[in-house]
């Protein structure tokens, strides 16, 4: 099976974040890491390849720094990488990100495309689904298990309240992978060395520009929630105070 894994570089989960000067996003000088659900998507792709053979290709869209995500994937065992390299991919809306991916892989023939369920920074959970729509492929989300079946695959989706859904799908297909589907491997030191010799294709923004439309995402303002403190003294008889208090606990504080 030939599998493409879409990956994203996101700010480290426990990194202290600072707002940028215009207050529209965070400052660039933060530590970055692989988006966690994407790491699981990569792991699942590598396991499928180990079971059924084939090729694992990784793709990301972002500035030069995001190449680290691809290097790590290559070190873990991906065969080659595609880097849509431009700072303009930061903060791009989901449909244009999907369009850019679709344009960059138009000459490739994949059996499966994996994305993480969602990104840890913007959290849209849209890019994979839209990519499937653009390609005209079926898709399934929140995937917990993938088995090869006659003429396609059988996947297990996580629903709410502990329920699962099993879906039979034809190939090619797009799957968005849930964190925890498997146990992540570490890159090995020898893998890191070998990654240097694996192909990494860079795609400039200009090469996919024709497929894109204006970015419809605009962050107006980002701010740290303000802590507020409000003291109110309830007046009246004991009965009235009790009545007001239960109302407030029920309707304002919502603890009753």
């Amino acid at each position: 099976m030939k599998i493409l894994v879409c990956m994203k570089q996101v700010p480290q989960k426990d990194a202290p974040l600072k707002l940028n000067e215009s207050g529209t996003w965070i400052r660039e000088d933060v530590s970055y890491e692989v988006n966690e659900p994407d790491a699981y998507a990569l792991e699942e792709a590598l396991r499928q390849k180990e079971k059924h053979g084939g090729e694992v290709v990784v793709i990301t869209a972002g500035p030069a720094r995001s190449q680290q995500v691809l290097r790590e994937a290559l070190a873990k065992g991906a065969d080659r990488a595609i880097h849509l390299e431009d700072p303009a991919f930061v903060g791009l809306d989901a449909i244009n990100t999907a369009r850019a991916f679709a344009a960059a892989i138009k000459d490739e023939k994949f059996d499966l495309i994996f994305t993480g369920l969602q990104s840890d920074d913007y959290g849209y959970a849209q890019t994979g689904v839209i990519l499937a729509e653009l390609l005209g492929w079926p898709h399934a989300t929140i995937i917990m298990q993938i088995e090869k079946a006659d003429g396609g695959i059988r996947v297990k989706r996580e629903l709410e309240a502990g329920y699962f859904q099993f879906v039979d799908m034809p190939l090619p297909a797009v799957l968005t992978i849930q964190s925890g589907i498997n146990k992540l491997r570490y890159a090995t030191l020898i893998g890191i060395k070998q990654a240097k010799n694996k192909p990494l294709r860079k795609v400039a923004l200009a090469e996919v520009q024709d497929a894109l439309s204006p970015n419809l995402l605009k962050l107006e303002r980002l701010y740290v929630p303000q802590k507020t403190k409000n003291t109110e003294v309830l007046q009246g008889s004991a009965g009235e105070i009790a009545k007001k208090l239960t109302e407030k606990l029920r309707n304002e504080v919502r603890v009753l």
Partner: protein, 392 residues
């Protein structure tokens, strides 16, 4: 209060590293965080070497990481050093185990061994299937290894080894010991011998009651008429220079490792000082005396990082002299021990409990300060280099 290591980088040190170097460091850091940190305090308490980590560390390529071929990763010296840093951020004892396996056992086989010896041992040691130890120090000869009493006598096609070795990391868990002995047929020239530890006459006894490096095995070795085939001689070893070359490899790793231990102590003390409140409900980090300690620590850690990185860059260009490595080992272990002591002060009573890693690092670093060339011996090595006069 759980304190999670956040890394230490005051002057954008990371910008001096390549992408691969950072990836190696981050991989080792994650492995240690996931696998060693959760168990190390218990191992230390019980005086237990975490043997369950031998294979996982092998799978990542930690043994003989800087050697080329034989399944080894062929890391640069800087990359190897960064792995050592992360290991010792976890624990000096576990780092010592990896140092001994890599720098003191695989390296001499790699550098002085025959092709047959390399084929026999290196791939198995890289995979963690075979463990090694290094027998140089003796009960009466530490800083002056040239005085050793262990002897090798040639009889027919065998060597017969007799002697005692002391303070041998991994002694009782090793499958093979690199034993340094005076070879009688060569006018007492010091040679290296590979001694399989199951040979009759070879005994290893663990040192108990250690206050330091409790998560690694330390043994004494006794060799009584141990017979080994002549092909177990390391053919390219010759003179005291050979074991000293091994020590140079190990000391280089220690210089990086000490930075890791210092980082662990500093980061823990910093987070504690920001959290712990005394006087007027203010964090103790707002006190001038506490700030002075934290600043001293980050200052020395930063200098130590730059020093060992430069020695690593020199080593990658084959321009690192033993005096350079001595300076890095001497400075960095000293500063790490000072950092551990200051961090323990900042934590007050909490500094002595193993809920925090500081006292363990401090006790470990007491060993690290005097093994692989004591602090004072490195002073004399550097002194000899700059004055041209030996003061041993």
């Amino acid at each position: 209060m759980a304190i999670k290591f956040r890394g230490v980088d005051f002057i954008e040190f990371d910008s001096l590293l390549s992408d691969d170097e950072r990836l190696v460091r981050d991989t080792a850091r994650k492995f240690i965080e996931d696998n060693l940190i959760p168990i190390i305090e218990q191992c230390n308490r019980e005086g237990r070497f975490p043997r369950e980590l031998v294979k996982p560390m092998a799978e990542l390529g930690f043994y003989g990481a800087s050697l080329k071929g034989y399944g080894c990763a062929g890391m640069s010296n800087v990359e190897y050093g960064l792995v050592m840093q992360e290991m010792e951020r976890g624990d000096s004892g576990v780092r010592s185990f990896v140092s001994v396996q890599s720098a003191l056992c695989m390296y001499p086989i790699y550098a002085f061994g025959s092709e047959e010896q390399k084929q026999k041992w290196l791939p198995a040691m890289q995979k963690g299937e075979k463990l090694g130890c290094f027998g140089l120090t003796e009960p009466d000869f530490g800083s002056n290894p040239g005085g050793m009493r262990t002897r090798a006598q040639k009889t027919g096609k065998e060597y017969v080894l007799n002697g005692e070795k002391m303070w041998i990391t991994s002694g009782s868990i090793a499958d093979v010991a690199v034993i340094w002995a005076k070879n009688e047929e060569e006018d007492d020239n010091i040679r290296g011998f590979l001694v399989e530890t199951d040979r009759p006459g070879f005994r290893a006894a663990d040192v108990h009651g250690k206050w330091s490096l409790r998560a690694s095995v330390t043994s004494s070795l006794s060799l009584q008429d141990v017979r080994i085939p002549e092909c177990n001689l390391l053919p390219k070893s010759g003179g005291l220079k050979s074991p000293l070359m091994c020590l140079n490899q190990a000391r280089y790793g220690i210089a990086w490792g000490a930075v890791g231990a210092a980082m662990a102590c500093y980061d823990c003390a910093l987070q504690y000082a920001q959290f712990r409140k005394q006087f007027h409900d203010q964090p103790i980090a707002s006190h001038q005396l506490v700030q002075e300690k934290l600043v001293w620590m980050i200052n020395e850690i930063t200098k130590g990082q730059l020093l060992v990185l430069q020695v690593g860059r020199l080593k990658d260009q084959e321009r690192a002299g033993h005096q350079h490595i001595s300076m890095a080992k001497r400075n960095n272990v000293w500063m790490a021990l000072e950092c551990a002591r200051m961090a323990r002060d900042i934590l007050g009573a909490n500094g002595i409990a193993d809920e925090y890693p500081i006292f363990r690092h401090m006790a470990n670093l007491e060993s690290v300060k005097t093994y692989e060339g004591t602090h004072d011996i490195h002073t004399l090595i550097i002194g000899s280099n700059i004055t041209g006069l030996d003061a041993f």
